[in-house]
Every structure is written in C-alpha cells, then in structure tokens.
Symmetry: C2
Subunit: 236 residues, 2 copies
Amino acid sequence: MEELQPTERTRLKRLPQRGSFDRETVYRIIDTALFCHVGFVHNDAPFVVPTLHVRIGARLYVHGSAASRMLRTAAGGVPLCVTVTHVDGLVLARSAFHHSINYRSAVILGVAQEVTDPDAKLRVLHALVEHVVPGRWQDARPPHPKELAATSVLGLPITEASAKIRPGGPGDDAEDYALPIWAGVIPLKMVTGAPVADERLMGGVKVPEYVANYLLPDARRDPQWQRGWNEPSVTT
Amino acid sequence: MEELQPTERTRLKRLPQRGSFDRETVYRIIDTALFCHVGFVHNDAPFVVPTLHVRIGARLYVHGSAASRMLRTAAGGVPLCVTVTHVDGLVLARSAFHHSINYRSAVILGVAQEVTDPDAKLRVLHALVEHVVPGRWQDARPPHPKELAATSVLGLPITEASAKIRPGGPGDDAEDYALPIWAGVIPLKMVTGAPVADERLMGGVKVPEYVANYLLPDARRDPQWQRGWNEPSVTT
C-alpha cells in the first residue's frame, strides 16, 4: 500500500517519531474505532461533532440527519478535519512534566462529497451498521426511501492524512530514573457490558449470536487485544 | 447554579429534548471525562486535536507544548470549540434507521486566554494531574521553571456551552414494535487494566495506593458506575 504524501498541515513539527504516513496504519486506526470527531468551520468559528464512521477503500464516510448543521455545512464542500482517537493508557512518569497518554490517533483533512445516489447511500449505511455491529444489517428492518432521503451521507477521500501513536512506558529525564517514584502505565480500554434487551421486545425473540458475542472493533481485528488484559481494578 | 444562556450556536435545532443548558450537567460531563477534542481554525481550515483537560470553576483548561500548533494558534485569541464525548452504548433498534448511540457530550465555544503567570500555570497543571490521577501530584517530581516555560496553558471560559445526552433504549416507529427483531443496548465503558510498572523502576518502589485502586473519573464521581456492570462478553 503506498504511503500518504505528507503536507505542511500533516507533517509533525514536534516528536516526529510519533507520526506515520503509512496508509495501512491510518486505516487500522480508523477501522478499529467506532466513532470520530468531525471538525468544520461555520461562520468563521470551529465546530467539533462526534459521529460514527466507516471506511470503504480510500474513503471515510459519516452520516447524519440531512437537517443537522454538520451535514448541511459539510455537504456544501467545506474543508473538514476528521480526528479518530483511541486512548490506551495513562503514562505516569517520575516527573510531572513527562506524564503522558498512550494513544493512537489519525487525522484526515479534506473536502467531503455528498453521496446522493440512493443505492450508493444504502451501501454506505450497510457498511456503517456492519462496522458498528457485524451481522446486524440482515436482521434490521431496512430503510424506507423516506428514511434514506432524510439521511445525509458524506464521503471524505483519505488523501491528506496522518497517524500519531504514543505507545509504551514513560520517558523520563536521565537523572530522574534514580528517583524512588513509581512510574508506569495504567492501561485503558473500552469494553462492552452484557446486552440489555428493550422492554418492549416481542415475546420469544432471543439475543442474536452477533449481540451475545459482540466484539468491539479493536478486539475484532486483533486477537491479542483481550489477552493479558486483567480484571478492571475498579470493582465494587 | 445558574443556567447557561442558549445562543444561536448552542441551541439544538433537532431533538431539543436531548439538549441541556444546565451548568451542573455540563460540568459533570466535563469532569467525568479525561480528555476532549479541541477544534480551531488555522488558515481557514479546521483542526481537531485530542487533549487532556481539567475544569476549575467556570473555566476549562488545556495544556500542551508551547511549540504545538494548537497551543500557538489558540493562544492568539482565536475561537475554539471544545467537545467532550462519552460513548455509553450501542443502541440497536428494530429499524436500521433508528439505530443510535448512547452518549453524553458537552460543547464549549469561546476564545481561550493563555495563562502566563507561573504560579497560576502551576495551579492548573496540579489540578490537571490530580484530575487524571488523584494523588499523583505529591509524588511526582515537580516541574522545573524551564519545563513550566515550555508548557502552554489555556483557559476557556464556560459561558457559551451546552450538553447533549442520549440515554436509554431504542425508539422505534410504532409499527416496528411488532417485528420479531431483537432490540436493545450493548453498554460500553472505559475501564482500567492492572498497572504496568516501568522496566526501569528503582528497586523497592511499591505501586502507590492511588495507582493500585485507580478509578476513572466516571467511577470516581458516581458510586453506581460499577454496579450492575457485567463481565465483558469479550474474553478469550
């Protein structure tokens, strides 16, 4: 897979070793996240909105109500910044200054195009639902044409993009390693709880296998994800 | 606590029942999150950057390297949008259209001011470290004047702000309740793993109590948080 071309806007000025223009790395960060934050400019002011996303090929798609400010603004062909963030741990260094966060993040800059063809829209919505809950699309009642019309879908080409990853333990100043201060990482991750059925569920409907054995994208793509993960220390 | 004043920019046009201008609600969403996404405009383009935050009174503070684009841009008195997002669950409705996400989010719009006084900066950094890991500040080696100078701190007044919350189960169209389709919620939450000590830890240094019993902000503020939480179904 070819490398992404760095630009003035995506090149890291500080700590460049944390940055990557490897397309596969960017894709992996996108694909292992359920949601992103979309930034856009409206009347000269920035707005940042969390939303679900899915990647198909070299495009990242978001959707929403055709009436929403984000979708109305972004469909007008304005520049967007999509930021995908995984927070993986709290890094406790010996010095307050070197405390940090372990993360994997991707930033995609560009102008999105609205997907207007109903079949193409449906394909994106299908992919979106399957990205969030694989197996769900075939069970759910498909969108009516009216629902499809009320939904806007935007596709952002993944052309100007970069990844930034901070893994591992603390990096302290040489002289601080002699301090008798605990240092290390408190790992963080998103997990699922047991599914909660709707109170109005029709009698006799069982929890589908894809819900009972649901895996978040990080766990789906990486068999190592759950391994070595200890019980949360926060139990009552 | 007085209500926040809605503005054209923070008033919800769609689903206004999900919105809140209650200051306490906004504060709670901010205080139970470790990090936020800061949006700013640079050369007419939006940028969205994840960063840690802490609230002190009616101000939200972020920090970073004085050299970073975000801090350099934002310190120049440009409009910011800070979005804080908790994702609490996947909502599976009977119709694809009504699938949703349970979330709690807050948006703060405004112009940040740089905190330049070293004592004031130190107070914010102290609060920030204590927000992320309560008990840590007294153990860590405090910042040298040089480190303090290399750190920029920005304070954003929480004046133009709102919260948006989507709790509960799916909301389907009346006729869809008769469909034999499973519907409900897959709860999501962030949890901690067992602390991982740095390989270069000085001999004899024990894991501090505040690390061993670390609680994420949501668990800290809400004794209900862990109750009823089942084992992640995703174990190998």
